[in-house]
Amino acid sequence: MKKFQILFISSFTAFIFACNPLEVKELTDPNNPSQESVSNNASRRQIQFLVTGLEQRHKGYVTNVSQAWNTFGREIWYLNASDPRFQTDWLGQAGRLPDAAYFGFGATGGGSYATPYQAIKQGLILIDAANNTPLLTVQEKKAVEGFSKTIMAYQYLIPANFLYENGIRTDIKDPLNPGPVRSYTAALGFIDSLLTAGYEDLNNAGTTFPFTLTAGFNGFNDINGLKRMNKAIAARVAIYRKDWQGALTALNLSFMSLTGSLTAGPAHTFAAPPDGFNPLFYVLDANINTIVVVHPSVLADTTQGDARVAAKFHKRTAAVTVTTDATPLVGTHQDKRWSVNTAPMPFIKNEELILIKAEAHAQLNQNTDAVSAINIIRTAAKIGNYTGASTKDALINEILYQRRYSLWAEPWGHRWIDARRYDILNTIPTSFDKGTIFKQFPRPQAEINWDLYDAGN
């Protein structure tokens, strides 16, 4: 019965030659385009995708910074019964102080460090892609560059304020060869010049922005609007740099309006999936034990009749209690700012700009201008005009107080940064939670490790 042997051997041989079993297909990602695909000759649609990607990366920090930094400045408590470390570690209970791989930030610094740098990286790739394609005009390239640099500058502020005196890297173009660590002052100087460069780009970008931005940029989605946004961010940077005159100059070119809506400003957008929901939204009176609540000190310090208190804080029907091994925390009020879970979240708004104006004037001893700016805020809050002393210190105190309520729990940690700017971190109360007020974070473990690795190679 040789026929079987012959049959099998011949069919097997035929099989081997017909479909070479030794050949494997080179793999390409079946799920995603490669980064390489945009580095040269990108199409307009590809540039558009990167622009939208930058918007996405731009809001990456919101959850972590809102929850953590606002806890550090005791604007809120982020109560989380599922993980006590949101209480014990973030509040610095039992003398805990941030280490290089602290809870909630990990070895990379997480949402307060790695994430903003990812937005910056996105900006760099977008600029390269735009400049390396013949399909965009020079003006269009400048528009993309100016927009990117403005967002990047905003993002640089996050790690800079997170690490503060520990300094940050500003030159990050080469992933295997990042630039040196620069001081907070130098970093702010770098950010300011990045904004200026972006502004110059926008100046050479014509009038219309050539790509689509989300509804969060409504009112800012042409070149003029982006320029005004750029200058608003520059004003925030200026007061961090104590460049009071610079702040006023920037404000004049920004979207500040002394008579307009205080809430006007560019915003992060949120929507149902595939987008993401507003991470600060909680159903009122929800019977849950993970929720942002108003810090008791904020409630204790309110001015009678303050419209902001009524607008932003909701007294719950039942308090939220979370017990930790230090002390139980009781949250009586929750955040009421978001009517729905798709509500947009401004990342810089007119109200802040007017407060910057007040602060800059006060610092320059232009008290009348300072008071009139303060009164715009007070009037809107329905608490009447300012009647206190007109000394610089008194005015600054007043401005810092108004900032606590006007900018309460914004995705920035204003109170924490303000208290640090004026060296009054020790006035933030810890009696409610037996915690510690942090000044800043150490460089993330991954940065320390990279330096070790780099030194060894």
């Binding site: 042997q5 793999l27 079946p30 990167l50 996405q56 999936p273 017990t323 009781v330 070790l452």
Partner: protein, 990 residues
């Protein structure tokens, strides 16, 4: 066991012979040879008339005829793996029915060592463990094949991830071969490279626990009906598994299913009826007014005290552990198999039904499996076999383990609920839980966590004898197969749950569809030839493996009341979609030399390439070499008491595959404000990546005493790995988090000792005992990147230190000794493990088996007590051992209190894994009642995990909230408690 009849028969025969006078005469003896355990005919048994050269072999139905040149004679029957049997025959009683008994020592069993060849165990140069069907499932009913390996394989560290029904087991052979992959062995079933992944269920997403590794899913070996398995060969390391090349770094399990046998068709039916109950409870704490005043904030005390007083007045305290975990599970298994065939065609057909509940309500595991294994001789020299298996498994694993915010985990939730508050529904209304975000009773009653798998495994094998003469033989073998899995998962939390009502879109359902197709193909030439006294065996061949996976997960939130269809959701979302493919190609050559079963040497080489490697077309070579010396087979061996003495040494290399996607630098797809965006990746592909490589040298010896009645096996191995994959974390300021690095190296060293033997071998009392002992030590010899911590929940709760010069299983945590350097609190790796197995046969009809395992050392990170401490429910919470006024639950040792060290606990345990007692009904009484209908009937009782002794505070020292992991596979977060399983069995052969 039919031995009883055989002995009786022999006695009768001897009597008979004594009466008859011997008288020289020629007659023809004939008869049938069968296996005494299952009555299957044995083909190829050599039958010799003692003292003559007259020989024959039995045919495929076990029949033989043989001429005898005397009036009576003694026939000697020899068969590999069976005890040599002698029977007397004479002219008057020339027709015999001979039952042969399987040899207790396994030296003669055949072990598959190459991809196309096998070798006698006595000639093996590796410590390969073979677990037979009897070893695997002979004592009790175990849900999954991997669960049935506990204590049976020296060198295997097996860990059950939780007690949830339907599997979820991690096997690590000889320590770790990888830092980032699961370090789980490759599984080859009847030549098919089957999928043993733990597929995503989505539970961790819906409950907020985290990534898919916290799903507490089952590894897909759970689909295989363990009763179909004939044996499992365990190739523990590269020295034995080198010929498998890539994917064999963590060893190989070669599973062979049962085959048909020529002869009378045997129909076997088995039924198990059992119950499951919790193996161990942690206990809960009682409350007092003093404790309430200490635990709760002032504002809450009044309401808590009134609840407590009300409960005291009505004596209504709820022990939630008992309430949720204290249920009795019903365990039902039915098995039917038909085995038979003739000279040309043999078949084994089986069907099984498993329906096992869990100790948590509304959980359970169902499996339906049908199998047909068919072998057909197309011609004298061509044999085709096809094995087909369809399986459906339906698993409900409930809600336990980690969660975040949602409250959808029983154990996590009840850690915070005092026993004076009643969560049970009143008139169908579930009270809101004021202590956590959810009422776990409602989740248990109405939530769904289901995985439904449809799976088809097909293998084929074609053997062609191309050429044969006196001294040589050339065979061609082509085989391969297909493993197709379709897995539909559904995780559902209804809209009316407490936590869901607090959401903008209440009600959550996540439906997954995953498909995986593995195909493989192998062709080999095998050439055997003989030069004088040396037998050679050479094989060359090629292997091709293709793996395809895809999945689609859709999620709906804001569901209409009671609805689970995503179209009934307010927010409908494509939660994830993925696709992956991978192809491996291997070439192999192996040469074996055997000098009269005295000196056996093997040399081999495997060359592999894979398209997940940096260079898809580069072949990587994996050599092997081994040598075994059967000293007792040499003429100079004079020690009669030592019947076998075999020093052996083996060396080999293998690889661990590069995971799909490691070379990609891809843009992510995002959606914002209705626009599609592309994001720059946070991980850079490494286009120079190479497979992980392990090389191992093992040496040892096997010794047999008293005609191999007692066997001793000792093995020492050193397994070194290099090019281990790990994430190289870049400066996060570059916007890139990591890339894959190929730089780490590790070393595993260990001992494996085995002593087995028949201690007593009397007619009415037979006792076989086996003692195994093993240990493994692991060390990172090179890291290449800065040391880092990884796994579990960070330094505050205990994590793992990956650093040159320490074991990667080292557990570290707060307090920090210096910035970035943390206190070492423990080590996850057991110090050593031992198992002791005993089989006793009493009065021939009673079989008693007991398997005990003791694991010494190895620490767990027990975060279940972290939770119960947080909720004041740990037993003894309010005690104050040091009398400082701070209750123990707020102040855990070691001082300075409340560091990570408090959760790192010794997980030493002793478990009675299996115990079984069976009674085989005497054939006479069967025949009386049922005529010839019933060939054999057996009844028995057994237990699985019947006893646990441990100081560990937790449901089971074996637990892993992160599933099958290289590291971090010992983290305890409110798991599904393990069950003690007790069975009644009945087994009937027709």
């Amino acid at each position: 066991m039919k031995k009883f009849y055989f002995v009786k028969f022999l006695l009768a025969l001897l009597l008979f012979i004594g009466v008859i006078q011997a008288e020289a005469q020629v007659f023809t003896a004939s008869g049938t040879v069968k296996d005494n355990s299952n009555g299957n005919p044995l083909a190829g048994v050599s039958i010799t008339v003692k003292g003559t050269k007259q020989t024959t072999t039995s045919n495929s139905t076990g029949n033989f005829t043989l001429n005898v040149n005397s009036k009576s004679a003694v026939l000697v029957l020899k068969y590999v793996g069976y005890k040599t049997t002698e029977v007397a025959v004479n002219a008057d009683r020339a027709n015999l029915n001979v039952m042969m008994e399987e040899e207790v020592n396994s030296l003669k069993e055949i072990v598959i060592t190459g991809l196309a060849s096998s070798i006698k165990r006595s000639n093996l140069a590796n410590a390969i463990t073979t677990v037979s069907a009897k070893d695997l499932m002979g004592t009790t009913q175990i849900q999954t094949a991997d669960g049935a390996l506990y204590g049976k394989v020296a060198g295997a560290n097996i860990r059950m991830n939780s007690g949830a029904p339907g599997g979820g087991i991690n096997i690590q052979l000889r320590g770790l071969s990888s830092l980032t992959q699961a370090s789980a062995p490759l599984i080859v079933l009847d030549g098919v490279y089957i999928n043993n992944n733990t597929q995503r269920t989505g539970r961790a997403s819906v409950t907020g626990a985290g990534a898919a590794n916290q799903d507490d899913g089952a590894n897909r070996l759970a689909d295989i009906n363990p009763a179909d398995i004939e044996n499992i060969e365990v190739l523990k390391g590269p020295s034995a598994a080198a010929i498998y090349g890539t994917r064999a770094n963590a060893g190989v399990l070669v599973i062979t299913t049962k085959k048909g046998a020529a002869g009378k068709t045997v129909i076997s039916f088995g039924q198990d009826i059992g119950i499951g109950s919790p193996l161990k409870m942690m206990g809960v704490d009682n409350w007092s007014e003093a404790k309430i005043n200490s635990f709760f904030p002032a504002a809450r005390r009044a309401v808590e005290l009134s609840r407590f007083q009300a409960a005291t007045a009505s004596n209504n305290f709820v022990n939630y552990e008992d309430y949720f975990y204290g249920n009795t599970a019903t365990l039902l298994n039915s098995r039917l198999s038909i085995r038979g065939g003739d000279e040309k065609t043999k078949f084994f057909v089986s069907g099984s039904l498993t329906d096992e509940g869990g100790i948590v309500r509304r959980t359970g595991f169902e499996r339906q499996s049908v199998r047909a294994n068919i072998e057909h001789k197309l011609s004298k020299s061509v044999v085709l076999s096809v094995n087909s298996n369809y399986i459906r498994t339906n698993t409900d694993r409930g809600f336990t383990g980690n969660q975040n915010n949602s409250g959808a985990s029983i154990g996590y939730n009840i850690a915070y609920v005092p026993n004076y508050f009643d969560l049970r529904p009143i008139n169908g209304v579930y009270p809101a839980n004021p202590y956590f975000a959810e009422n776990p009773v409602a989740v248990t009653d109405n939530g769904i966590n289901n995985a439904l798998v449809n799976r088809f495994i097909q293998s084929f094998n074609l053997d062609v004898n191309l050429f044969k003469n006196e001294n040589s033989q050339l065979k061609f073998r082509v085989n391969g197969g297909l493993d197709y899995i379709q897995n539909t998962t559904k995780v559902y939390l209804p809209d009316d749950l407490q936590y869901q009502r607090g959401q903008a879109n209440p009600g959550d359902v996540l439906v997954g569809k995953q498909e995986s197709t593995n195909t493989n193909f192998q062709a080999a030439f095998v050439y055997d030839w003989k030069i004088k006294r040396v037998n050679f065996n050479t094989q060359v061949g090629l292997v091709r493996l293709d793996f395809k996976n895809n999945g689609l997960f859709n999620r709906g939130r804001g569901l209409a009341p009671g609805q689970v269809n995503i179209k009934q959701a307010t927010v409908q979302e494509v939660e994830s979609q993925f696709e992956s493919t991978q192809s491996d190609v291997g070439l192999f050559v192996q040469k074996q030399m055997n000098f009269e079963d005295k000196i056996i040497g093997t040399l081999g080489m495997r060359m592999d390439k894979s398209n997940t490697n940096g260079d898809a077309n580069k072949f990587y070579g994996f050599p092997k070499a081994s040598l075994a010396l059967n000293l007792a087979n040499f003429d100079f061996w004079k020690i009669d008491a030592i019947s076998q003495f075999k020093p052996r040494v083996a060396y080999g290399q293998t690889a661990g595959p590069v995971p799909f996607g490691a070379t990609f630098t891809s843009l992510g797809g995002v959606n914002i404000g209705g626009l599609l965006g592309a994001t720059v990746p946070t991980s850079i592909g490494n286009t120079n990546i190479v497979p992980e490589r392990a090389s191992e040298i093992e040496f040892g010896f096997d010794a047999g005493f008293l005609n191999n009645r007692i066997l001793f096996e000792a093995t020492y191995y050193v397994k070194t790995t290099l090019d281990n994959l790990q994430p190289l974390t870049l400066s996060p300021a570059t916007g890139v988090v990591n890339t894959t690095s190929n730089e780490a190296e590790m070393r595993n060293k260990g001992f494996e000792l085995g002593l087995s033997g028949t201690v007593v071998d009397k007619a009415n009392f037979k006792w076989f005992s086996r003692l195994l002992w093993w240990k493994n030590d692991i060390l990172i010899t090179k890291l290449g990147i800065p040391s880092y911590t990884t796994g579990a929940f960070g330094t505050g709760l205990g994590t793992f230190l990956v650093q040159q010069g320490v074991s990667p299983t080292t557990i570290v945590g707060t307090p920090a000794i210096s910035p970035g350097v943390f206190t070492i609190w423990g080590n996850a790796q057991p110090d050593w493990t031992t198992s002791w197995s005993n089989n006793i046969t009493l009065f021939k009809n009673f079989d008693l088996s007991v398997l005990t395992e003791y694991r010494s050392g190895g620490d767990n990170i027990n975060l279940t007590t972290f939770l119960t401490d947080g909720g004041g429910t740990t037993k003894g919470w309010f005690d104050d051992t040091n009398g400082d006024g701070i209750p123990n639950g707020r102040q855990r040792d070691p001082a300075p209190y409340n560091n990570a060290g408090r959760w790192v606990q010794d997980a030493t345990f002793l478990k009675i894994r299996e115990v079984g007692l069976y009674y085989t009904l005497p054939k006479e009484s069967l025949n009386k009642s049922f005529g010839k209908l019933i060939q054999r009937a057996k009844i028995g009782v057994s237990g699985n995990n019947v006893f646990l002794a441990t100081k560990y505070v937790g449901y089971d020292p074996e637990t892993s909230t992160f599933g099958a992991q290289a590291l971090a596979n010992n983290v305890d977060v409110a798991p599904y408690p393990s069950a003690r399983r007790l069975f009644f069995h009945i087994q009937i052969d027709f």
